[in-house]
């Protein structure tokens, strides 16, 4: 009996932590989401009335921000994948003795604060930065176009901020591929493109799935990029939740939105994993 109990004892600290800081708050959040204001009470006073209509109201009122969150997150994820795949491939197969150095460079942005890096993008894309004047002088954007406070800036910020989360799992996955299988593919009449499609890509799928999830999930709920680099027109669902909680003190709507976001991400991710995991992708 003692032997059987040992693993459970080892799990106890973890369970205790998760229970206190995850299960209990979630239950509390669930409870809050169906509350309504106390009649004649102060701002921020709510009572439990099991009003599930809260969810529908919150969703209808904010469906634009929901849609925007997912569209931005998907675009940022796709951009990050397009940038990261060649990067991870090059680090894994072509970097030689610079491999570790390049990996450190990928992680290097984490040495400074997330907030600071996002503010830096505001300067890069601002009027005083070099990007806008350069693009203007090349005639790519008109003299009156600005880049800050646009959806472009928000998506760029998200792509940049979540890039390492895409690159690292991709690298880990590509690095595990035996280069001789790629040679074998060439030896068996596959040209470079076919080799990529039939061998490299399928073998790196675990990294693609992990990387897209690690990018998409935090990106969909992000509000820092939208609030620093965006405008009221680029509000994401994270911004709405943030303002409902901390500014308007509308706890039930914020809680309902949080749950709706969680559910939406969960459904999308489940469909994605099923598709990536069971079907032949190529």
């Amino acid at each position: 009996m003692g032997k059987i109990r040992t693993p459970y004892l080892l799990l106890l600290p973890g369970f205790g932590f998760l229970f206190t800081f995850f299960i209990l708050p979630i239950l509390n959040l669930a409870q809050t989401s169906t509350q309504t204001p106390v009649g004649g009470g102060d701002t921020g006073q709510y009572e439990q009335t099991f009003r599930f209509q809260n969810y529908i109201d919150a969703f209808i009122e904010n469906k634009e921000q929901f849609a925007r969150s997912f569209i931005y997150a998907i675009i940022a994820t796709v951009l990050a994948l397009i940038i990261s795949y060649p990067l991870a491939y090059a680090i894994a197969f072509k970097s030689g003795k610079y491999k570790n150095f390049l990996l450190v460079l990928v992680v290097a942005p984490f040495f400074t604060s997330f907030l600071l890096r996002t503010v830096a993008w505001k300067q890069i894309l601002g009027e005083e930065g070099f990007v806008v004047p350069t693009l203007r002088s090349l005639g790519i954007i008109s003299q009156s176009t600005t880049l800050t406070s646009t959806s472009f800036a928000v998506v760029m910020g998200m792509t940049y901020n979540f890039l390492p989360f895409m690159t690292l799992p991709l690298y880990a996955s590509i690095d595990r591929i035996d280069p001789r299988t790629l040679e074998a593919s060439g030896d068996l009449y596959a040209n470079a493109f076919t080799t990529f499609r039939k061998v490299t890509l399928p073998l790196s799928m675990p990294g693609v799935v992990a990387g897209t999830l690690l990018t998409f999930i935090p990106a969909a709920g992000d509000y820092v990029n939208a609030s620093i680099l965006g405008s009221p027109n680029t509000k994401m669902i994270g911004n709405v939740i943030e303002s409902r909680y901390f500014k308007i003190v509308d706890y039930p709507t914020a809680a309902a939105l949080s749950f709706t976001l969680m559910a939406a991400i969960l459904i999308l991710v489940t469909i994605y994993i099923r598709k990536a995991g069971t079907e032949e992708l190529v």
């Binding site: 074998a184 030896d187 068996l188 399928p202």
Partner: protein, 382 residues
Amino acid sequence: MSFDASSARGDLILTRITKEYGDFKAVDDLSLTIPKGSFFALLGPSGCGKTTTLRMIAGLEEPTVGSIHLGETDITTTKPYQRPINTVFQNYALFPHLTIFENIAFGLRRRGVKDVDAEVNKVLNLVELPHLAGRKPTQLSGGQQQRIALARAIVNRPALLLLDEPLGALDLKLRRQMQIELKWIQKEVGLTFVHVTHDQEEAMTMADTIAVMNEGQIEQMGSPADLYDNPETAFVANFLGQSNLIKGTISGNDGDSLVADLYGQKISLPKNRSHATDNSIYAGIRPEKFRISLLNTPVSGNVLSGGRIEDVSYIGVSTQYQVAMPWGQELIVFEQNDDGVAPFNKGDAVNISWAPIFTFALRGDEDVTAGSEVIPEVLDEE
């Protein structure tokens, strides 16, 4: 320029191939013709350039200088996928995400072959593993993976099949079995096999022709028996089996034979087995060609007297002796245990004799240790 050479057939001809990596010459001005339909082995120690040569034939490396022809077609710069050449890779390089069936079908599908099912099943039967078609490579044993790697290559009926240390990862018993099987399959399918190995026994068991490579060049080429009985250099004499090399001088000429003086004792050797350039030689005799006799026993042929048994090791089929000679050298002798006579004892005073025909002569300025200090167990070349 690269172009599709997949229909090329004929002998493989390497002409003055050199491959340099920076200052290092992996292959140095090598020329070689591999006849269509033969089982050819490139044999040599780690780093001799044999794998680089194979990779240039496969198209995975491009020669710095020189050309490669398959029949009439120049394939020097042709891409690997445009060559009618397939490789059985060291450690197999099977595709881990595909089933055994799809692994074998890979080349057929790329070439747009019609009846993939029938072709794959045919080779699966040839390697006697039809029941594994639905498995993934990681579910197979090393020996099974080896056969699937072979099946994946020969299913394409290439003009040339390259085998890169194909049996290196197998244990000894399985390796012996696969050597015989590979030889049989080569006869069965009638393809040209080019086999790269560091294992002289493997090369001798399977190949019709062996090219012994050393430091990027071909040291000697010929049939296994040729190389063994008539090595031209100390490297070949030592790398293929063991040799006793005794310093001497040519002192006379007797018809088809030469007379040599080995530390004052006269022996004779066939002229056509002398590779010396002047009178200074090393006389070479394989250990199993020697016979040991006690001093009072009459002997014929070449005789070296004054030996004393230093060490006796009984190893079943034969007994191995070390015999100290008056000039300080220890000779190795293998005696078959087939005559019911008790082995000689340590300390016995003996003569050593052998048939003159088994003597070969190397140049007297050779390094007698060449090829003997290499450790054939080392697997990876690069």
